[in-house]
Protein backbone atom coordinates (compact mmCIF):
# COMPACT_ATOMS: atom_id res chain seq x y z
CA UNK A 1 0.00 0.00 0.00
CA UNK A 2 2.81 2.46 0.86
CA UNK A 3 4.59 1.93 -2.47
CA UNK A 4 1.32 2.31 -4.26
CA UNK A 5 0.62 5.65 -2.56
CA UNK A 6 4.17 6.85 -3.31
CA UNK A 7 3.59 5.98 -6.95
CA UNK A 8 0.33 7.90 -7.05
CA UNK A 9 2.04 10.88 -5.42
CA UNK A 10 4.69 10.85 -8.12
CA UNK A 11 2.33 10.31 -11.07
CA UNK A 12 -0.72 12.35 -10.09
CA UNK A 13 0.62 14.53 -7.25
CA UNK A 14 -2.07 13.39 -4.85
CA UNK A 15 -2.17 15.14 -1.47
CA UNK A 16 -3.76 14.82 1.95
CA UNK A 17 -3.54 11.02 2.17
CA UNK A 18 -5.50 9.66 5.14
CA UNK A 19 -5.78 5.99 6.13
CA UNK A 20 -9.23 5.81 7.65
CA UNK A 21 -9.21 2.11 8.45
CA UNK A 22 -7.43 -1.05 7.44
CA UNK A 23 -7.15 -1.24 3.63
CA UNK A 24 -8.98 2.04 3.12
CA UNK A 25 -7.35 5.28 2.04
CA UNK A 26 -8.68 8.71 1.14
CA UNK A 27 -6.69 11.17 -0.96
CA UNK A 28 -7.16 14.47 -2.76
CA UNK A 29 -6.42 15.11 -6.42
CA UNK A 30 -6.87 18.07 -8.71
CA UNK A 31 -10.00 18.06 -10.84
CA UNK A 32 -8.11 17.98 -14.16
CA UNK A 33 -6.14 14.88 -13.19
CA UNK A 34 -9.14 12.87 -12.01
CA UNK A 35 -10.06 11.07 -15.27
CA UNK A 36 -6.41 10.08 -15.72
CA UNK A 37 -6.15 8.83 -12.16
CA UNK A 38 -9.40 6.83 -12.37
CA UNK A 39 -8.41 5.27 -15.69
CA UNK A 40 -5.01 4.38 -14.26
CA UNK A 41 -6.55 2.82 -11.16
CA UNK A 42 -9.10 0.87 -13.18
CA UNK A 43 -6.82 -0.43 -15.92
CA UNK A 44 -3.47 -0.89 -14.15
CA UNK A 45 -4.16 -1.19 -10.43
CA UNK A 46 -7.23 -3.44 -10.59
CA UNK A 47 -9.62 -1.01 -8.90
CA UNK A 48 -12.41 -2.23 -11.16
CA UNK A 49 -15.43 -1.74 -8.92
CA UNK A 50 -16.94 1.74 -8.80
CA UNK A 51 -18.77 1.90 -5.46
CA UNK A 52 -20.24 5.40 -5.50
CA UNK A 53 -19.84 9.07 -6.31
CA UNK A 54 -21.18 11.70 -3.96
CA UNK A 55 -20.68 15.29 -2.89
CA UNK A 56 -20.13 17.07 0.42
CA UNK A 57 -21.03 20.72 0.80
CA UNK A 58 -18.36 22.77 2.64
CA UNK A 59 -20.28 26.02 2.63
CA UNK A 60 -17.97 27.83 5.06
CA UNK A 61 -14.97 27.26 2.79
CA UNK A 62 -16.97 27.94 -0.40
CA UNK A 63 -16.17 24.49 -1.75
CA UNK A 64 -17.86 21.31 -2.91
CA UNK A 65 -16.10 18.03 -2.25
CA UNK A 66 -16.72 15.18 -4.66
CA UNK A 67 -15.85 11.69 -3.41
CA UNK A 68 -15.23 8.87 -5.85
CA UNK A 69 -14.98 5.47 -4.17
CA UNK A 70 -13.26 2.58 -5.93
CA UNK A 71 -12.74 -0.97 -4.76
CA UNK A 72 -10.15 -3.58 -5.63
CA UNK A 73 -11.51 -7.11 -5.43
CA UNK A 74 -8.08 -8.75 -5.53
CA UNK A 75 -6.58 -6.99 -2.52
CA UNK A 76 -9.98 -6.04 -1.00
CA UNK A 77 -8.90 -2.44 -0.58
CA UNK A 78 -10.84 0.79 -1.00
CA UNK A 79 -9.63 4.09 -2.34
CA UNK A 80 -11.62 7.26 -1.90
CA UNK A 81 -10.68 10.15 -4.14
CA UNK A 82 -11.63 13.68 -3.12
CA UNK A 83 -11.92 16.49 -5.62
CA UNK A 84 -12.62 20.05 -4.48
CA UNK A 85 -14.67 22.36 -6.68
CA UNK A 86 -15.39 26.04 -6.50
CA UNK A 87 -18.83 26.48 -4.96
CA UNK A 88 -19.77 29.52 -7.04
CA UNK A 89 -19.45 27.78 -10.43
CA UNK A 90 -19.30 24.03 -9.73
CA UNK A 91 -18.36 22.09 -12.84
CA UNK A 92 -16.67 18.73 -13.14
CA UNK A 93 -15.38 16.50 -15.93
CA UNK A 94 -17.82 13.68 -16.66
CA UNK A 95 -16.48 10.13 -16.39
CA UNK A 96 -19.57 8.33 -17.67
CA UNK A 97 -17.46 6.52 -20.27
CA UNK A 98 -15.55 4.58 -17.60
CA UNK A 99 -18.46 2.89 -15.81
CA UNK A 100 -22.04 2.58 -16.97
CA UNK A 101 -23.74 3.55 -13.72
CA UNK A 102 -21.78 6.78 -13.28
CA UNK A 103 -24.14 8.84 -15.45
CA UNK A 104 -26.93 8.20 -12.92
CA UNK A 105 -24.77 9.42 -10.05
CA UNK A 106 -23.90 12.55 -12.02
CA UNK A 107 -27.55 13.10 -12.85
CA UNK A 108 -28.40 12.94 -9.17
CA UNK A 109 -25.59 15.33 -8.21
CA UNK A 110 -26.72 17.83 -10.84
CA UNK A 111 -30.20 17.73 -9.38
CA UNK A 112 -29.36 17.66 -5.68
CA UNK A 113 -26.26 19.92 -5.56
CA UNK A 114 -26.38 21.77 -8.87
CA UNK A 115 -22.96 20.50 -9.97
CA UNK A 116 -22.54 20.62 -13.75
CA UNK A 117 -21.29 17.57 -15.63
CA UNK A 118 -21.10 18.67 -19.28
CA UNK A 119 -21.50 15.79 -21.73
CA UNK A 120 -22.98 13.29 -19.30
CA UNK A 121 -25.99 11.54 -20.88
CA UNK A 122 -29.44 12.73 -19.73
CA UNK A 123 -27.82 14.77 -17.00
CA UNK A 124 -30.38 17.57 -17.07
CA UNK A 125 -33.39 15.27 -16.95
CA UNK A 126 -35.07 15.36 -13.55
CA UNK A 127 -34.45 12.12 -11.68
CA UNK A 128 -36.17 12.43 -8.32
CA UNK A 129 -37.53 15.98 -8.08
CA UNK A 130 -39.83 16.53 -11.02
CA UNK A 131 -40.82 20.16 -11.44
CA UNK A 132 -38.47 21.48 -8.74
CA UNK A 133 -38.21 25.27 -8.77
CA UNK A 134 -36.07 26.02 -5.70
CA UNK A 135 -32.31 25.89 -5.24
CA UNK A 136 -30.79 22.37 -5.31
CA UNK A 137 -32.06 20.86 -2.04
CA UNK A 138 -28.93 19.15 -0.76
CA UNK A 139 -27.04 22.45 -0.53
CA UNK A 140 -26.52 23.63 3.02
CA UNK A 141 -28.45 26.87 2.57
CA UNK A 142 -31.66 25.06 1.65
CA UNK A 143 -33.76 25.02 4.83
CA UNK A 144 -36.15 22.05 4.90
CA UNK A 145 -38.21 23.42 7.78
CA UNK A 146 -38.71 26.83 6.18
CA UNK A 147 -39.63 25.19 2.88
CA UNK A 148 -42.25 22.93 4.44
CA UNK A 149 -43.76 25.79 6.44
CA UNK A 150 -44.06 27.88 3.27
CA UNK A 151 -45.31 25.07 1.04
CA UNK A 152 -47.65 23.02 3.20
CA UNK A 153 -50.45 24.34 5.39
CA UNK A 154 -52.31 22.72 8.26
CA UNK A 155 -55.66 21.37 7.10
CA UNK A 156 -58.55 23.67 7.97
CA UNK A 157 -61.22 22.45 10.39
CA UNK A 158 -58.77 20.61 12.61
CA UNK A 159 -58.37 21.63 16.20
CA UNK A 160 -55.39 20.84 18.34
CA UNK A 161 -55.35 20.30 22.07
CA UNK A 162 -52.63 20.74 24.56
CA UNK A 163 -52.01 17.05 25.34
CA UNK A 164 -51.60 17.64 29.05
CA UNK A 165 -54.92 19.44 29.49
CA UNK A 166 -56.71 17.20 27.04
CA UNK A 167 -55.74 14.02 28.88
CA UNK A 168 -56.66 15.53 32.22
CA UNK A 169 -60.14 16.32 30.94
CA UNK A 170 -60.46 12.89 29.40
CA UNK A 171 -59.22 10.95 32.41
CA UNK A 172 -60.94 12.97 35.14
CA UNK A 173 -64.28 14.08 33.66
CA UNK A 174 -65.77 14.80 37.09
CA UNK A 175 -63.17 17.54 37.52
CA UNK A 176 -64.03 19.08 34.20
CA UNK A 177 -66.02 22.09 35.48
CA UNK A 178 -63.16 23.05 37.74
CA UNK A 179 -60.60 22.47 35.01
CA UNK A 180 -62.56 24.58 32.58
CA UNK A 181 -62.87 27.37 35.09
CA UNK A 182 -59.21 27.46 35.90
CA UNK A 183 -57.24 26.52 32.81
CA UNK A 184 -53.93 26.62 34.62
CA UNK A 185 -54.72 23.64 36.87
Amino acid sequence: MENFIEKLKKLFSVTNVVHTKEKQVFLTVEAEKLPLLLTHLRDYENFTHFAFLTAVDWKEEEKFQLTYMLHNYNSNSDIGIRVFLDRQAPEMVSIHHLWKQVSTYQRELYEMFGIQFPGSPEVEEPMILEGWQEIPPMRREFDTKKYSEETYFPRSGRTTHDPKKHMKKKLYPEWNPILNENEDV
Partner: protein
Amino acid sequence: MYKPDRSKFPAKDKKIELSSQKYVKVWQGPQHPGVTGNMALEVTLSGDEVVDLKTHVGYLHRGFEKLMERRRYIQCYPIVCRICVPEPDTNEYLLATAIEKLSGIQIPKKATWLRTLTLEMSRLASFLMWIGGQAGAFGLGTVGQWTVTHRDYILDLFEELSGGRVYHMYTIPGGVRDEFPNNFAEKLEKILQKTEKLLKKIKIMMFDNAIFKSRAKNLGVITSEMIDKFGIVGPNARAAGLKRDLRKDEPYLAYQELDFEILTLEKSDAFNRAWLRYQEMWQSIDLIRQIMKKMPQTGEYHAKVPNVLNWKIPPGEVYVKAESTRGEYGYYMVSDGSEYPRRVYVRGPSYTHAMAVLPELAKNVNIADLAGLMTSLHTYPPEIER
Protein backbone atom coordinates in the same frame (compact mmCIF):
# COMPACT_ATOMS: atom_id res chain seq x y z
CA MET B 1 -38.02 -17.18 -21.69
CA TYR B 2 -40.66 -16.62 -24.36
CA LYS B 3 -39.14 -16.00 -27.79
CA PRO B 4 -41.33 -13.78 -29.98
CA ASP B 5 -41.48 -14.15 -33.76
CA ARG B 6 -39.75 -11.06 -35.09
CA SER B 7 -39.80 -11.98 -38.80
CA LYS B 8 -42.75 -9.71 -39.53
CA PHE B 9 -41.20 -6.73 -37.78
CA PRO B 10 -37.53 -6.70 -38.67
CA ALA B 11 -35.61 -4.26 -36.47
CA LYS B 12 -33.98 -2.32 -39.26
CA ASP B 13 -33.86 1.12 -37.82
CA LYS B 14 -32.27 1.55 -34.43
CA LYS B 15 -34.12 4.80 -33.76
CA ILE B 16 -37.49 4.32 -32.13
CA GLU B 17 -40.11 6.67 -33.54
CA LEU B 18 -43.49 6.55 -31.87
CA SER B 19 -45.09 8.33 -34.84
CA SER B 20 -44.31 5.37 -37.07
CA GLN B 21 -47.08 3.52 -35.18
CA LYS B 22 -44.92 0.44 -34.83
CA TYR B 23 -44.29 1.12 -31.17
CA VAL B 24 -46.42 1.84 -28.16
CA LYS B 25 -45.35 3.38 -24.88
CA VAL B 26 -46.80 2.12 -21.60
CA TRP B 27 -45.96 2.77 -17.98
CA GLN B 28 -45.52 -0.09 -15.57
CA GLY B 29 -45.80 1.39 -12.11
CA PRO B 30 -45.56 3.24 -9.80
CA GLN B 31 -48.81 1.57 -8.70
CA HIS B 32 -48.46 -1.92 -10.06
CA PRO B 33 -48.37 -5.20 -8.17
CA GLY B 34 -45.44 -6.40 -10.24
CA VAL B 35 -43.23 -3.49 -9.23
CA THR B 36 -41.00 -3.75 -6.19
CA GLY B 37 -41.83 -0.71 -4.13
CA ASN B 38 -42.75 2.55 -5.80
CA MET B 39 -40.79 2.62 -9.00
CA ALA B 40 -42.02 3.28 -12.50
CA LEU B 41 -40.84 1.67 -15.71
CA GLU B 42 -41.40 3.57 -18.92
CA VAL B 43 -41.63 0.75 -21.45
CA THR B 44 -41.58 1.11 -25.23
CA LEU B 45 -43.12 -1.95 -26.85
CA SER B 46 -43.11 -3.46 -30.28
CA GLY B 47 -45.97 -5.91 -30.12
CA ASP B 48 -45.46 -7.48 -26.71
CA GLU B 49 -41.71 -7.18 -26.82
CA VAL B 50 -39.81 -4.52 -24.88
CA VAL B 51 -37.53 -2.49 -27.11
CA ASP B 52 -36.64 0.29 -24.71
CA LEU B 53 -36.94 0.80 -20.99
CA LYS B 54 -36.30 3.67 -18.62
CA THR B 55 -36.48 3.51 -14.85
CA HIS B 56 -38.15 6.41 -13.07
CA VAL B 57 -37.78 6.93 -9.35
CA GLY B 58 -38.84 9.74 -7.05
CA TYR B 59 -42.14 8.43 -5.74
CA LEU B 60 -40.64 7.51 -2.39
CA HIS B 61 -38.20 10.34 -1.84
CA ARG B 62 -38.21 11.45 1.78
CA GLY B 63 -34.88 13.25 1.83
CA PHE B 64 -33.28 11.08 4.52
CA GLU B 65 -29.74 12.25 3.83
CA LYS B 66 -30.79 15.86 4.10
CA LEU B 67 -32.76 15.22 7.29
CA MET B 68 -29.77 13.54 8.90
CA GLU B 69 -27.67 16.68 8.46
CA ARG B 70 -29.97 18.53 10.86
CA ARG B 71 -30.14 15.82 13.52
CA ARG B 72 -27.81 14.63 16.24
CA TYR B 73 -26.20 11.27 15.64
CA ILE B 74 -28.54 9.35 17.90
CA GLN B 75 -31.56 11.02 16.31
CA CYS B 76 -30.59 9.53 12.94
CA TYR B 77 -31.64 6.05 14.06
CA PRO B 78 -35.37 6.33 13.39
CA ILE B 79 -34.47 7.62 9.93
CA VAL B 80 -31.90 5.11 8.70
CA CYS B 81 -33.97 2.00 9.34
CA ARG B 82 -36.62 3.34 6.99
CA ILE B 83 -34.20 3.34 4.06
CA CYS B 84 -34.67 -0.40 3.67
CA VAL B 85 -37.91 -1.76 5.12
CA PRO B 86 -37.34 -5.52 4.73
CA GLU B 87 -33.80 -5.32 6.07
CA PRO B 88 -33.40 -2.37 8.46
CA ASP B 89 -30.69 -3.94 10.61
CA THR B 90 -27.99 -3.47 7.99
CA ASN B 91 -28.65 0.26 8.07
CA GLU B 92 -28.59 0.43 11.85
CA TYR B 93 -25.42 -1.64 12.04
CA LEU B 94 -23.63 0.47 9.43
CA LEU B 95 -24.56 3.80 11.00
CA ALA B 96 -23.37 2.52 14.38
CA THR B 97 -20.12 1.24 12.88
CA ALA B 98 -19.44 4.50 11.08
CA ILE B 99 -19.89 6.42 14.33
CA GLU B 100 -17.72 3.93 16.23
CA LYS B 101 -14.97 4.03 13.57
CA LEU B 102 -14.86 7.82 13.60
CA SER B 103 -14.78 8.11 17.38
CA GLY B 104 -12.59 5.04 17.97
CA ILE B 105 -14.91 2.98 20.15
CA GLN B 106 -14.39 -0.78 20.53
CA ILE B 107 -17.55 -2.76 21.12
CA PRO B 108 -17.68 -5.76 23.49
CA LYS B 109 -17.52 -9.29 22.14
CA LYS B 110 -21.03 -10.24 23.08
CA ALA B 111 -22.38 -7.20 21.19
CA THR B 112 -20.68 -8.31 17.95
CA TRP B 113 -22.42 -11.68 18.21
CA LEU B 114 -25.80 -10.15 18.94
CA ARG B 115 -25.36 -7.81 15.99
CA THR B 116 -24.44 -10.71 13.72
CA LEU B 117 -27.55 -12.52 14.86
CA THR B 118 -29.85 -9.61 14.01
CA LEU B 119 -28.15 -9.20 10.64
CA GLU B 120 -28.68 -12.86 9.75
CA MET B 121 -32.25 -12.87 11.02
CA SER B 122 -33.10 -9.82 8.96
CA ARG B 123 -31.37 -11.43 5.97
CA LEU B 124 -33.66 -14.42 6.28
CA ALA B 125 -36.73 -12.21 6.68
CA SER B 126 -35.77 -10.13 3.67
CA PHE B 127 -35.18 -13.20 1.50
CA LEU B 128 -38.54 -14.63 2.58
CA MET B 129 -40.27 -11.48 1.45
CA TRP B 130 -38.34 -11.43 -1.80
CA ILE B 131 -39.04 -15.05 -2.75
CA GLY B 132 -42.76 -14.38 -2.37
CA GLY B 133 -42.45 -11.50 -4.81
CA GLN B 134 -40.38 -13.54 -7.23
CA ALA B 135 -42.89 -16.39 -7.25
CA GLY B 136 -45.82 -13.98 -7.46
CA ALA B 137 -44.31 -12.25 -10.49
CA PHE B 138 -44.46 -15.58 -12.34
CA GLY B 139 -48.01 -16.34 -11.22
CA LEU B 140 -47.32 -18.49 -8.16
CA GLY B 141 -49.14 -16.33 -5.65
CA THR B 142 -49.42 -19.08 -3.04
CA VAL B 143 -45.70 -19.00 -2.29
CA GLY B 144 -46.02 -15.33 -1.42
CA GLN B 145 -48.76 -16.06 1.09
CA TRP B 146 -46.63 -18.67 2.81
CA THR B 147 -43.42 -16.69 2.94
CA VAL B 148 -44.94 -13.45 4.20
CA THR B 149 -46.45 -15.46 7.07
CA HIS B 150 -43.05 -16.89 7.91
CA ARG B 151 -41.47 -13.47 7.69
CA ASP B 152 -44.02 -12.37 10.25
CA TYR B 153 -42.86 -15.12 12.60
CA ILE B 154 -39.35 -13.68 12.41
CA LEU B 155 -40.75 -10.20 12.97
CA ASP B 156 -42.43 -11.54 16.11
CA LEU B 157 -39.02 -12.64 17.31
CA PHE B 158 -37.64 -9.21 16.59
CA GLU B 159 -40.50 -7.72 18.59
CA GLU B 160 -39.53 -9.84 21.57
CA LEU B 161 -35.89 -8.90 21.16
CA SER B 162 -36.18 -5.19 20.52
CA GLY B 163 -39.78 -4.06 20.99
CA GLY B 164 -40.26 -3.20 17.32
CA ARG B 165 -41.52 -5.49 14.60
CA VAL B 166 -40.34 -3.84 11.41
CA TYR B 167 -37.97 -1.12 12.63
CA HIS B 168 -35.89 -2.43 15.48
CA MET B 169 -33.27 0.18 16.40
CA TYR B 170 -31.68 -2.60 18.43
CA THR B 171 -28.14 -1.82 17.33
CA ILE B 172 -26.94 1.44 18.85
CA PRO B 173 -23.49 3.07 18.96
CA GLY B 174 -21.38 1.13 21.44
CA GLY B 175 -23.17 -2.18 21.16
CA VAL B 176 -26.77 -3.32 21.35
CA ARG B 177 -29.68 -2.25 23.52
CA ASP B 178 -30.48 -5.35 25.50
CA GLU B 179 -29.90 -9.03 26.23
CA PHE B 180 -32.08 -11.88 25.02
CA PRO B 181 -35.53 -12.19 26.52
CA ASN B 182 -36.48 -15.45 28.26
CA ASN B 183 -36.69 -18.60 26.14
CA PHE B 184 -35.57 -16.73 23.04
CA ALA B 185 -33.32 -19.53 21.80
CA GLU B 186 -36.09 -22.15 21.90
CA LYS B 187 -38.54 -19.86 20.11
CA LEU B 188 -35.95 -19.05 17.46
CA GLU B 189 -35.18 -22.75 16.90
CA LYS B 190 -38.89 -23.51 16.52
CA ILE B 191 -39.28 -20.85 13.85
CA LEU B 192 -36.14 -21.98 12.04
CA GLN B 193 -37.61 -25.48 11.85
CA LYS B 194 -40.86 -24.06 10.51
CA THR B 195 -38.93 -22.10 7.90
CA GLU B 196 -36.97 -25.18 6.86
CA LYS B 197 -40.21 -27.03 6.31
CA LEU B 198 -41.45 -24.12 4.22
CA LEU B 199 -38.28 -24.01 2.13
CA LYS B 200 -38.70 -27.70 1.27
CA LYS B 201 -42.23 -26.94 0.11
CA ILE B 202 -41.02 -23.97 -1.94
CA LYS B 203 -38.51 -26.23 -3.69
CA ILE B 204 -41.34 -28.46 -4.92
CA MET B 205 -43.76 -25.65 -5.63
CA MET B 206 -41.42 -23.18 -7.29
CA PHE B 207 -38.11 -24.58 -8.44
CA ASP B 208 -39.47 -27.91 -9.70
CA ASN B 209 -42.34 -26.13 -11.40
CA ALA B 210 -42.23 -26.38 -15.20
CA ILE B 211 -43.87 -22.98 -15.67
CA PHE B 212 -41.39 -21.19 -13.45
CA LYS B 213 -38.48 -23.01 -15.02
CA SER B 214 -39.50 -22.30 -18.60
CA ARG B 215 -40.17 -18.63 -17.92
CA ALA B 216 -37.23 -17.82 -15.68
CA LYS B 217 -34.46 -19.71 -17.45
CA ASN B 218 -32.41 -17.56 -19.84
CA LEU B 219 -34.26 -14.47 -18.71
CA GLY B 220 -32.05 -11.43 -18.14
CA VAL B 221 -28.62 -13.02 -18.38
CA ILE B 222 -25.84 -11.06 -16.65
CA THR B 223 -22.51 -11.94 -18.24
CA SER B 224 -19.30 -11.79 -16.25
CA GLU B 225 -18.04 -8.92 -18.46
CA MET B 226 -20.99 -6.81 -17.37
CA ILE B 227 -20.22 -7.10 -13.68
CA ASP B 228 -17.40 -4.59 -13.32
CA LYS B 229 -18.74 -2.38 -16.07
CA PHE B 230 -22.03 -1.89 -14.22
CA GLY B 231 -20.78 -2.39 -10.67
CA ILE B 232 -23.03 -5.39 -10.04
CA VAL B 233 -22.73 -6.90 -6.55
CA GLY B 234 -24.28 -9.53 -4.34
CA PRO B 235 -26.16 -12.62 -5.49
CA ASN B 236 -26.56 -11.10 -8.97
CA ALA B 237 -22.78 -11.23 -9.38
CA ARG B 238 -22.27 -14.50 -7.50
CA ALA B 239 -24.71 -16.29 -9.78
CA ALA B 240 -22.37 -15.41 -12.67
CA GLY B 241 -19.54 -17.28 -10.95
CA LEU B 242 -17.74 -14.54 -9.08
CA LYS B 243 -16.64 -15.40 -5.55
CA ARG B 244 -17.36 -12.08 -3.92
CA ASP B 245 -18.94 -11.81 -0.52
CA LEU B 246 -18.01 -9.11 1.98
CA ARG B 247 -18.72 -11.49 4.85
CA LYS B 248 -15.76 -13.56 3.65
CA ASP B 249 -13.58 -11.02 1.84
CA GLU B 250 -13.53 -8.37 4.55
CA PRO B 251 -14.95 -10.16 7.59
CA TYR B 252 -16.80 -7.87 9.96
CA LEU B 253 -18.46 -8.63 13.31
CA ALA B 254 -18.31 -12.35 14.12
CA TYR B 255 -18.32 -13.71 10.57
CA GLN B 256 -14.68 -14.73 10.88
CA GLU B 257 -15.59 -17.38 13.43
CA LEU B 258 -18.49 -18.79 11.44
CA ASP B 259 -18.11 -21.67 9.07
CA PHE B 260 -19.60 -21.05 5.65
CA GLU B 261 -18.71 -20.99 1.96
CA ILE B 262 -19.41 -18.40 -0.71
CA LEU B 263 -22.08 -19.93 -2.94
CA THR B 264 -21.70 -19.40 -6.66
CA LEU B 265 -23.33 -20.59 -9.89
CA GLU B 266 -22.18 -20.47 -13.50
CA LYS B 267 -24.82 -18.42 -15.27
CA SER B 268 -26.67 -15.44 -13.86
CA ASP B 269 -30.19 -15.68 -15.28
CA ALA B 270 -33.43 -15.15 -13.37
CA PHE B 271 -33.74 -18.82 -12.43
CA ASN B 272 -30.18 -19.18 -11.17
CA ARG B 273 -30.35 -15.96 -9.20
CA ALA B 274 -33.49 -17.22 -7.50
CA TRP B 275 -31.89 -20.61 -6.88
CA LEU B 276 -28.78 -19.01 -5.39
CA ARG B 277 -30.84 -16.87 -3.04
CA TYR B 278 -32.84 -19.94 -2.09
CA GLN B 279 -29.60 -21.68 -1.12
CA GLU B 280 -28.45 -18.59 0.76
CA MET B 281 -31.61 -18.85 2.83
CA TRP B 282 -30.53 -22.33 3.92
CA GLN B 283 -27.09 -20.94 4.61
CA SER B 284 -28.59 -18.16 6.68
CA ILE B 285 -30.54 -20.67 8.80
CA ASP B 286 -27.33 -22.60 9.33
CA LEU B 287 -25.49 -19.42 10.31
CA ILE B 288 -28.17 -18.47 12.84
CA ARG B 289 -27.79 -21.93 14.45
CA GLN B 290 -24.00 -21.54 14.53
CA ILE B 291 -24.29 -18.08 16.10
CA MET B 292 -26.61 -19.35 18.83
CA LYS B 293 -24.18 -22.16 19.56
CA LYS B 294 -20.93 -20.16 19.57
CA MET B 295 -22.20 -16.99 21.20
CA PRO B 296 -20.71 -16.21 24.63
CA GLN B 297 -23.44 -16.59 27.21
CA THR B 298 -22.33 -13.84 29.54
CA GLY B 299 -20.52 -10.56 29.25
CA GLU B 300 -21.05 -6.91 28.52
CA TYR B 301 -23.17 -6.01 25.54
CA HIS B 302 -22.64 -2.28 25.54
CA ALA B 303 -19.46 -0.22 25.67
CA LYS B 304 -19.25 3.08 27.48
CA VAL B 305 -20.06 6.00 25.18
CA PRO B 306 -20.29 9.74 25.85
CA ASN B 307 -23.66 11.37 26.45
CA VAL B 308 -25.44 10.70 23.16
CA LEU B 309 -27.46 13.92 23.32
CA ASN B 310 -24.32 15.99 23.19
CA TRP B 311 -21.89 13.72 21.39
CA LYS B 312 -19.26 15.45 19.28
CA ILE B 313 -17.64 13.10 16.79
CA PRO B 314 -14.02 13.93 15.82
CA PRO B 315 -13.68 15.31 12.30
CA GLY B 316 -12.94 12.79 9.58
CA GLU B 317 -14.53 10.58 6.99
CA VAL B 318 -15.01 6.85 6.66
CA TYR B 319 -16.74 4.38 4.38
CA VAL B 320 -18.11 1.26 6.03
CA LYS B 321 -19.90 -1.58 4.29
CA ALA B 322 -21.67 -4.85 4.86
CA GLU B 323 -23.11 -7.63 2.74
CA SER B 324 -26.87 -7.21 2.61
CA THR B 325 -29.24 -9.55 0.78
CA ARG B 326 -28.69 -7.54 -2.37
CA GLY B 327 -24.95 -7.04 -2.08
CA GLU B 328 -22.56 -4.37 -0.90
CA TYR B 329 -24.37 -1.87 1.28
CA GLY B 330 -22.33 1.06 2.49
CA TYR B 331 -22.39 4.21 4.57
CA TYR B 332 -20.06 7.10 3.86
CA MET B 333 -19.97 9.48 6.79
CA VAL B 334 -18.21 12.84 6.97
CA SER B 335 -17.94 14.58 10.32
CA ASP B 336 -16.85 18.17 10.86
CA GLY B 337 -16.41 17.83 14.60
CA SER B 338 -19.85 19.08 15.62
CA GLU B 339 -22.85 17.25 17.12
CA TYR B 340 -24.41 16.87 13.70
CA PRO B 341 -23.10 14.75 10.82
CA ARG B 342 -21.81 16.84 7.95
CA ARG B 343 -22.88 14.28 5.38
CA VAL B 344 -24.15 10.73 5.47
CA TYR B 345 -24.28 9.02 2.11
CA VAL B 346 -26.04 5.69 1.75
CA ARG B 347 -24.76 3.43 -0.97
CA GLY B 348 -27.43 0.93 -1.89
CA PRO B 349 -26.82 -1.90 -4.34
CA SER B 350 -30.17 -1.26 -6.03
CA TYR B 351 -28.85 2.03 -7.39
CA THR B 352 -26.97 0.39 -10.23
CA HIS B 353 -29.18 -2.70 -10.46
CA ALA B 354 -32.34 -0.72 -11.15
CA MET B 355 -31.02 2.37 -12.91
CA ALA B 356 -28.30 0.92 -15.15
CA VAL B 357 -28.62 -2.89 -15.32
CA LEU B 358 -32.38 -3.29 -15.65
CA PRO B 359 -32.74 -1.13 -18.82
CA GLU B 360 -29.93 -3.16 -20.36
CA LEU B 361 -31.40 -6.56 -19.48
CA ALA B 362 -34.98 -5.67 -20.35
CA LYS B 363 -34.31 -5.30 -24.07
CA ASN B 364 -36.12 -7.93 -26.16
CA VAL B 365 -37.91 -9.34 -23.13
CA ASN B 366 -41.61 -10.12 -23.32
CA ILE B 367 -43.63 -7.64 -21.27
CA ALA B 368 -45.15 -10.47 -19.22
CA ASP B 369 -41.69 -11.42 -17.95
CA LEU B 370 -40.69 -7.88 -17.04
CA ALA B 371 -41.99 -8.01 -13.46
CA GLY B 372 -40.17 -11.30 -12.89
CA LEU B 373 -36.96 -9.87 -14.30
CA MET B 374 -37.13 -6.84 -12.06
CA THR B 375 -37.77 -8.91 -8.96
CA SER B 376 -34.94 -11.25 -9.87
CA LEU B 377 -32.52 -8.32 -9.58
CA HIS B 378 -33.90 -7.72 -6.06
CA THR B 379 -34.12 -3.96 -6.49
CA TYR B 380 -35.45 -1.73 -3.80
CA PRO B 381 -36.35 1.92 -4.61
CA PRO B 382 -35.75 3.70 -1.25
CA GLU B 383 -32.05 2.92 -1.62
CA ILE B 384 -32.02 4.78 -4.93
CA GLU B 385 -33.69 7.99 -3.83
CA ARG B 386 -33.06 7.95 -0.05
